[in-house]
Symmetry: C2
Subunit: 446 residues, 2 copies
């Protein structure tokens, strides 16, 4: 493989500056029963600060494996290690002990912390009305108040404290920030961890690392690769990664040092020029943000009628805080009867053309708009699979329609993948159709 | 920290038998722009085969970092390494090159593979109606057909081939399976990878490793910890991990060798005895599966009326294939007007008690049931935040109601966390209320 454009400018991204490693613990994460949100969140927080993260290691609840992972990251020469998880009251929660041992520190009971945790547990259990066995509670509290000697304790957000554990005197190695697994607790505790003196000292060498994102809709990855190859000379100093996501969106994320800002500006100009017809976001804003902003700016309301996507579109439209300003509601018309009763789709239309048809998608969009008195109506109907497909209407066939005041955009798509993929991708395409109807493209250019 | 019950029986789980390591590549995964589904999926597939996975390393698109990760896993003595991602047509896709170099093999062009990929790309682009530049396409195809000399090529599912790359003669080390990043492609290619002779030889020592799951709803983690401590003697030979998930569900996953089956059976009996009131799944089935099965078995239909959860409940109920048998549809009544128009919630009720109230939740459930002619109706209304809270009705306050034929279950809950947490947890609690209404508890005992 020939590399035809510069990805890794020496000295800016991989050589100097502060680097950190992340260890995510939990057999439930390793085996996929729980999706890790902490590793990427921490990586992003560190990036914003100018700290580069090379690896996230996901490891089960086994002390030897956790120890090996800490040693691996320390050996790569990182300036800081951050762990998440393994601070709960059950015996498989062993991060404090393993990290303590790794840094040469044994566990001691922090009596003040124990009292603090006991007070929290007592308050929480009262609020939930759960029966709590005092002996069990006391044992759990005592376990969570065992901390490596000399570690900085970060006040609990839930019941588990965080820790900053530096190596014992006379040894060298990065400090380890130990954070709880629940994302909310980890995120709230993060500022306190960063404020720690040992952490500040470890990250003293950090350099500003900028990150910018562009988004294309409808350009194949191979076309973008050609553009990058062709403009190779202009891209020096940029670390560019591309990613096909959300059923067709091409995301271009570029990281660079401050000195390469002119190169990035030139890169944006190239993409604006070559892929003008598919570049929908030059500033990184997502289609969700654009739709929310467009609806708000134009003072418009929206209503949905969903069959195959079955609530996913309404859920996505209402994700942003304040979505109640523009989302009036929606109808999930899964059965044919519901399409008729809730949306006024004529029974004859369904009988003649089938529930999965362009006409029914439009009738659903129009129905949602009328029933809820919204400015914009959206209809989705398709075969999500795995059953229900036919030769004429195979699994993955989806009709989408967005209707406004005297305008409409309809689309027939054939999506690959399993049921969940078809549903999620249908929603993604629909978001772009809404954006199109609202005239986002006209507003893209500065 | 004293360990009071056996978690890691020596020789069964961590010592002998085949072990594998996983490397997930992609800056978009490392930084959280894309959630990794491949690492956990691969770990689970390997587990089922009796291959233990100790670590998943997530690494960005940088050759040095990928190389370091491969070396780390090889050094831990794993018998097999599996990578995902980095096989696309852009220059940041460099897994084949790095793995080849790691195994001592340089890249060669596979002309047959090149023709195969060209045919796939041509077919795909025709189906999507995308304009494809022939020069760009040919460069992309040529790049994807460069494979390490002597590697086994796994036929593409998308456009990227997979690889099995053994070390060159005269060196030792585990073979590396190289798979594409898109989960669908990776999963479809997996059987071919396993069938490879070098992989079979590497995993010859694998031992059966069983995994069973129990689920509790309403038991705090500290209570379970006490149970585990108390019955320590009976748990020898079991690797037990517990995980609080989905806003209150306590999941107990146990892994063990075949010889420890009696110990696991005894453990189940203990949990059945001590936590009889909260154990809702002794066989690992999720609440989603239970609700689907209960509705199907009883021949009942369901309809939803959602405010704060805004489609998420309908989407979750329709996740299983065949959900159209029992889900008629739903109404997302986000505005007060929608609650009145779509569900017939009396305006006076909203004026008097507020949209977030037990009475409105019940009126919504009853309304959904009536409007769609369903056997079961569900209503959700609450303050998802971050705005909209008050002293009387703070962010996180949610009212839920499930109504059947002459029966109803209502719940008022106060949920911590951000908007997305409140929405997701409300849905989780609602699933349990539906299960309760359908009488799941009576059916749990064998």
């Amino acid at each position: 493989m020939r590399r035809s454009w510069s990805r890794r400018p020496p000295g800016i991204l991989a050589g100097v500056g502060a680097r950190a490693g992340i260890v995510v613990t939990g057999t439930e994460v390793l085996t996929g029963r729980v999706t890790d949100r902490n590793g990427p969140w921490l990586a992003e927080q560190l990036r914003i600060m100018g700290v580069d993260v090379a690896q996230i290691v996901v490891v089960g609840d086994r002390p030897a494996d956790l120890q090996t992972s800490l040693a691996f990251l320390a050996d790569t020469g990182v300036d800081l290690i951050v762990t998440s998880g393994g601070l709960g009251p059950t015996a498989d929660d062993l991060t404090a002990e393993v990290v303590g041992a790794f840094q040469g520190r044994s566990l001691v009971l922090d009596a003040e912390l124990e009292a603090q945790i006991a007070a929290i547990v007592s308050r929480l259990s009262a609020g939930r009305g759960w029966r709590m066995d005092p002996v069990a509670t006391s044992a759990a509290t005592g376990k969570q108040a065992l901390v490596p000697a000399g570690a900085t304790v970060l006040a609990p957000v839930g019941t588990a404290p965080g820790l900053v554990v530096a190596v014992t005197d006379g040894r060298t190695g990065p400090p380890v920030i130990v954070l709880p697994g629940p994302p909310r607790e980890l995120q709230q505790m993060w500022p306190a961890a960063l404020a720690d003196q040992a952490v500040q000292a470890a990250l003293a060498d950090r350099e500003e690392l900028r990150q910018q994102t562009m988004r294309l809709w409808g350009t194949p990855e191979s076309e973008l690769a050609a553009t990058l190859r062709q403009h190779e000379a202009a891209l020096s100093g940029l670390e560019i990664t591309t990613c096909l996501r959300d059923g067709g969106e091409l995301e271009i994320v570029t990281r660079y040092g401050a000195a390469a800002q002119p190169a990035y500006d030139a890169f944006v100009a190239v993409i604006r020029d070559v892929h003008a017809d598919t570049l929908f976001s030059a500033d990184g804003r997502t289609v969700d943000e654009q739709v929310a902003d467009l609806l708000t700016a134009q003072g418009l309301t929206i209503a949905t009628a969903e069959s195959c996507t079955s609530g996913l579109l309404a859920a996505r439209l209402t994700e942003p805080p304040g979505a109640s300003r523009y989302v009036l509601g929606g109808l999930v018309a899964y059965s044919n009867a519901a399409k008729q009763q809730l949306l006024g789709v004529p029974a004859g239309l369904i009988d003649e053309l089938g529930a999965v048809s362009a006409e029914v998608a439009e009738a659903m969009a129009t129905g949602a708009r009328a029933r809820l008195g919204a400015d914009v109506g959206v209809g989705t109907t398709g075969v999500a699979g795995p059953g229900g497909g036919s030769i004429d209407k195979p699994v993955g066939l989806v009709y989408l329609c967005v209707v406004g005041d005297g305008t409409a955009i309809a689309r027939r798509i054939s999506l690959p993948g399993a049921r969940a993929d078809v549903r999620a991708r249908s929603v993604a395409v629909t978001m772009h159709l809404i954006r199109e109807l609202l005239g986002a493209d006209a507003r893209l250019s500065p």
